[in-house]
Structure formats: C-alpha cells, structure tokens
Amino acid sequence: MSARGERRLGAALVAPAGAALALVALGPLLATAWLSLRHRVPVLGEDRFVGLANYGALAHDARFLGALANTAYFTALAVALELVLALPLALALHHAGRGRGGIRAAVLVPWILPTVVAAKLWALLLQPDLGLLARIWPDGAGAVLTRPRLALHAAIFVDVWKTTPFVALLLLAGLQAIPEDLARAARVDGASALRVFRSITLPLLRPAILLALLFRSLDAFRVFDVVFVLTEGGPGHTTEPLSLYAYRTLLRAGSFGLGAAISLVTFLCVVAIGLAWLSALGERRPAEAP
C-alpha cells in the first residue's frame, strides 16, 4: 500500500472516533455556547438573543464571584493537601515489604466508595445534633457545618479523605518506574537518604506528580456531589461551587441562558488549568537537561 493510501486508511479508521467525539463533546459544547448568548426561561416563555449580556451580569453577580472564589479555594487547598499527604503514603507503600498488596487494597477503600456515599457518611458523622463528632466535640468539629466560614473546609476534608489514596497510587506508579540502580549508585557515592530523595526520587517523580495535579485539579474544580450532599451550598451560599450554581440556575431556577454562561465559564477555567499543567508536563525535565 502506498504511503498516501495508508494515510487515507488511517484517516478512515480514525473517522468513527472523531465523529463520535464531535457528536458527544463538540456538539454539546457549541450548543451551550450558543445558549449562553440567549435569554431563555422556558416557564416564562422567554427566548431571545442577548449577546454577551449573561456574561456581563455574571461579572457583577456577587453569588457568582463567591462561587468562583469557593471553587478556586476548594481546588487549591484540597489538591495541595492531597499531594502533601499522598507522597509519604506512596513512599511507605513503595517500601512496604510483605503484605504490600493487602495494604494497597486497604488504602484504596475510600476511593472505591461512590462520592455520594462517602459524603453521606461524613454528613451523618458531622450532623451537628446527633453526629458522632458532635457527641465528642460539640462546639468544635461537630459544629463545623453550621459555621459559614468553616463549612467549606468540611467539604475539602471529605475530598482529601476520599482522594488521597488515588493520588498516592498515581505517585506509587511513578516511584516504581524509577530504576533502583540510580538510588543504589547514589548511596555508593555516599548520598544520604534525604539527598537521594531530593536529587533522584523527586526530580524523576515530577511527571507523575504533575499528572496527579492535572487529574485532581480538573476534578476538584468541577466539584459537585460532596457539597451537594453535605451542605447544598449553604449556609448562605458560602460553600457553593460553580457547578452547583450552574445546576441551580439551569434546572431549579430554570434560567437556561445564564446557567449555560456559568457552565461555559467553568469549562474555560478547567481548560485553562488543564493547559497550564500540560505545558508544565511538556517542559523538559531538569534531569535531562544537557
């Protein structure tokens, strides 16, 4: 087969996947973008083109700006904590001797639970009258959901509790890809354990870390279920993330155009975060630098 024929065959083979992607990803995206330029409220029978007015309204909407801040704060703190906790966990799993498989399986339990189930579990534990934490420490951790400025941290805590094992597993895969010989050679040269970690393990783990950050920050920025179950966005919208605001505007208030605008802003934020991490991932690692 000629090179051209082969290219054509390749294109034909890729076409179904491309068409499916266009159908399920690009289509809805463009439809949402178009909807966000309209004022559409089906129950009021309103549907007209308003240009960028929805985006203009969002720029002055205190609830939207609050939701944006909540989402950014949730993402930054949750992902940072997950990374800080997962790294030692991954190292411990990596160096664990016998029973490693069993330990690894046990660590993954929170990650296996559906988020809604995990969130409901914590909602019961944190229930401020009868929850377990309320019985142990009624005015402290037991009352966290009743405090407007603290309730979001309960959601962050549940996210960290649930997702740290996943991050640890990603890092563990990275650790196992590092050749043992490098560390051994460094030790022969008299490097301390800390030095080996800083100069060999950490730089070589960089791609795995960035990958974990990429996955997690994209996921965390779209957070919905944890908050929906724990607080429904209350008290006073202080725990409401963008996705919950979009859902409420679209489906509860029935304002489709504004809801689409919020969804699209969320999407653009996620794309920006994804591109930032991907470009960091694409940079040449210092270890390979000439």
């Binding site: 491309g18 068409a19 159908l23 089906p42 009021l44 401020p128 009743t146 429904e232 209350g234 006073g236």
Partner: protein, 419 residues
C-alpha cells in the same frame, strides 16, 4: 466511500433512536394514561388498589411513574419534560407553589368545566383552593395537604405557648427542670423548608409577602421576622444546629428527647409515637406561636393536574382519573393508609378517618388556617435566591435587612425581565 459511510453510522443510529422515541410517544393510545406522582409510603398496595378501581370502572389503563420525593428534583423533572413539549405524561402532581408558574407557562390543562372554581372553593380547603384557581380558572385539583405545626413536650410544658415571648419563657422554664435540653428546633438549612419557616415567622409578625404578582421581601415585618429567626439562634433558644437542619434532622433530635419544641409537618406524629421513640406519649401538637397570638402554618401538599399537551382523546380520561383520585373515598384511603391530610373539608368529618386516623381528623383547624407561600408565577424562579439570603441571615453572615434587600433585588430582576 464505504469507510465514510461507516463513520456516519453512530450519527444514523442516534437519529434512528430519536425517531423511534418520538414514534413511540405518538402511538400511545387514548386508553392508556401516564400518571406521575411521588410515592406515598413504603406499602404501595392501597394506592395500587385505588388506581386499579379506576382502571376497572373506566377501562383505561394507568401507567404509574414515580417522581423523586425531593420536591425540587420533582419540579426539575417536570419542567424539563413539559418545557421540551413532551407528551410522555398526562396527569402529574404539583406542589402548591408550582401551580401559578406552570399555569402561566400554559402547560396545565384548564379543568374549569369538570371542576368549576366555585365548587373547588366550596369543597376544598381555602389554602389549596386559592393555589389551584388562577384568574378564575381551575388548573389543578387539591390532592392532599400539609401544614406547619408546633410539637411540644407535654411533660415539660404545661400549656403550649401562643406567642414568641411565651415560647422563650417556656424554654427557660423547661431548662430549669431539664438542664441542657435544647429549646426550639426548626428548619434553617438552605432549602425550601427554610422559606416555609420564614413565611410562618412573617405571618406571625403580621406581614405578607405579595403585592399583586410582585414578591415583597424587603418590608419592616419581613425584617422583624428574619431578625426573630436569627435571634432564636443567637440567643440560644434554638441550637446552632438548626442552621443546617432539615425536617428529619429536627425530627430525629426531638425524638431522642433533646428539645422542648419543634416546628415540623404532620408526618412526624406517627414516628414520634413509635414504640422505640423516647418521647412517645409525651408530645402535644399546637398552632405555631406568633408575635401576638397563634400564627398560621405554611401550607404544603400536592395537587393533581392534567398536561395541556395531552391530546383531547386522553384528556377526558385524564380528568376522570383526577376526579377519582381526589374523591372523598380516595381522601380516606390516603389519610388512613398513608397519613396524608385530606384536602376536602368534609373528609375531616368522615367516620372512617375519625376512627382510624384521629390525629388527622383533629388537624382540621390547623389546615383551615394554613396559608400558602406567595402564589405568583415567579415564586420558583426566586426561591433559590431567597433560600440563600435567608440562610445567610439565619447563620449570621449578613444582617436580616441586608439579606432581604439582596433577595428583593434578585427577585425583582427575575420578575422584571418581562415588565
């Protein structure tokens, strides 16, 4: 050529599926109705028997579909289906606060011929009748009702309080006997239950929230009402946990014997009388207190409506189904088997209900006094913004005045869109 055709296969498949869905909808015959309702209780048998009786009498088959028990979700499902012009449902349930909105949208069939407004007003309780009759036409028929009640501990409170001051005094007195007991439990979580509690406080302060079609939230009475709710928490008459509490949070804590008073719906009564309940036999029910005397409880409950998209052939059968399910006999089944309060005056005199559900029969004065949340097409659109601002005030994030001003601005922006 062949590969590119294959590439189109998923598209063609989707198109075929979509066409298939439409075709199926249109061919549903006139003697098959779809009813969407919220499951009434764990045992479906009495309700099934009620529907089966209709099927026998009319020869029309009824397909019963369940909606989620969360009102907001049920609303969302109905609005997306009706808004898309779907014909997949003929008869469905409506919360009292949805009727105006969906009637205005033109999605509810006019039932005035079968249920003339004058007869609806005569036979049904004033609250639900006022919600289903819009502009002199009947758009839905009341099915069962709910009302906000004050539950109190008979062993700690000799007389139920009629005013807010008496409520506070009773809590202090009860605490002298039972130190550490919580005072008044209610629903302060950011959701529709908080709005019900707020409107009850508003009526208790002599206020109203409607001026024509316009929601009036930024009024002196509303500021007093919201300030009152906030002070309950700030002064310790209610535990801080009420700012996250929904009905079940309050009911469980009250049932554990942890509080003197609770605001809740009638459903809590049989649960509190359960053999395992710690407060069994120690609970009384009274009207909610107000500033100068008892306040009306918020009206909840459900109505049955017919979709305006149901073709004429099915509409007649659908109206007969609504009549069957809202009949005095059906009221009795719902009251006895499911503890639902009848929407008809006369049912409270029904000997079957008086004998087998005396608690329900005794609630007549409460349901007669019950008041509906503002009946306006804009209520559901503004509800979300209102809940958030009420929650902000109750949890101490903003002053009641500031929260209400913000809620008013948002409600006006929603309604003003088309003025």
């Amino acid at each position: 050529m062949l590969p590119s055709l294959r590439a189109l296969a998923p598209l063609l498949l989707c198109a075929a599926l979509a066409a298939g869905c439409r075709a199926r909808e249109d061919t549903r015959s006139a003697d098959r109705l779809v009813l969407r309702y919220q499951p009434l209780g764990p045992d479906p048998a009495p309700f099934r028997a009620l529907v089966a009786a209709f099927e026998r009498e009319s020869g029309v088959e009824v397909e019963v579909q369940a909606l989620p028990n969360a009102a907001d979700l049920a609303h969302q499902l109905l609005v997306t289906s009706l808004g898309a012009g779907g014909q997949d449902v003929d008869v469905f349930v409506l919360d009292v606060v949805w009727v105006a909105e969906l009637a205005r949208a033109g999605w509810l069939a006019d039932l005035s011929d079968a249920f003339p407004p004058a007869r609806v007003r005569e036979e049904f309780l004033a609250g639900p009748a006022g919600a289903v009759v819009q502009g002199g036409r009947t758009f839905a028929v009341p099915w069962y009702v709910d009302v906000g009640l004050l539950y109190y501990r008979k062993d700690l409170v000799p007389e139920p309080p009629r005013t807010y001051a008496a409520l506070a005094a009773a809590i202090r007195a009860a605490r002298a006997e039972a130190p550490g007991i919580a005072g008044f439990l209610w629903q302060g979580r950011q959701y529709e239950g908080l709005s019900c509690n707020f409107f009850e406080a508003l009526w208790g302060h002599g206020g109203a929230a409607l001026d024509g079609d316009r929601l009036r939230l930024d009024t002196p009475a509303a500021r007093e009402a919201l300030g009152h709710l906030r002070r309950l928490v700030a002064d310790g008459l209610s535990p801080r946990s009420v700012v996250t509490a929904a009905e079940e949070d309050a009911r469980r804590a009250f049932q554990e014997g942890r509080a003197v008073f609770m605001r809740n719906w009638p459903y809590a009564w049989p649960l509190l009388q359960d053999p395992a309940s710690k407060v069994r036999g120690k609970v009384g029910v009274a009207p909610l207190p107000g500033a100068d005397g008892p306040a009306p409880g918020a009206l909840g409950g459900w109505q049955l409506a017919v979709s305006s998209r149901a073709p004429a052939a099915r509409r007649a059968a659908a109206i007969r189904l609504v009549a069957h399910l809202t009949s005095p006999d059906a009221n009795a089944v719902l009251a006895i088997a499911y503890g639902r309060n009848p929407a008809r005056h006369a049912s409270y005199e029904d000997p079957r209900i008086r004998a087998e559900a005396p608690f329900i029969a005794a609630l007549l004065p409460r349901v007669e006094a019950a008041r509906a949340r503002p009946v306006t097409p804009y209520y559901m659109l503004a509800a979300d913004a209102l809940q958030g601002e009420l929650s902000a005030a109750v949890s101490g994030l903003r002053s009641p005045a500031e929260a209400l001003a913000r809620a008013q601005a948002q409600a006006d922006a929603i309604a003003g869109v088309e003025r």
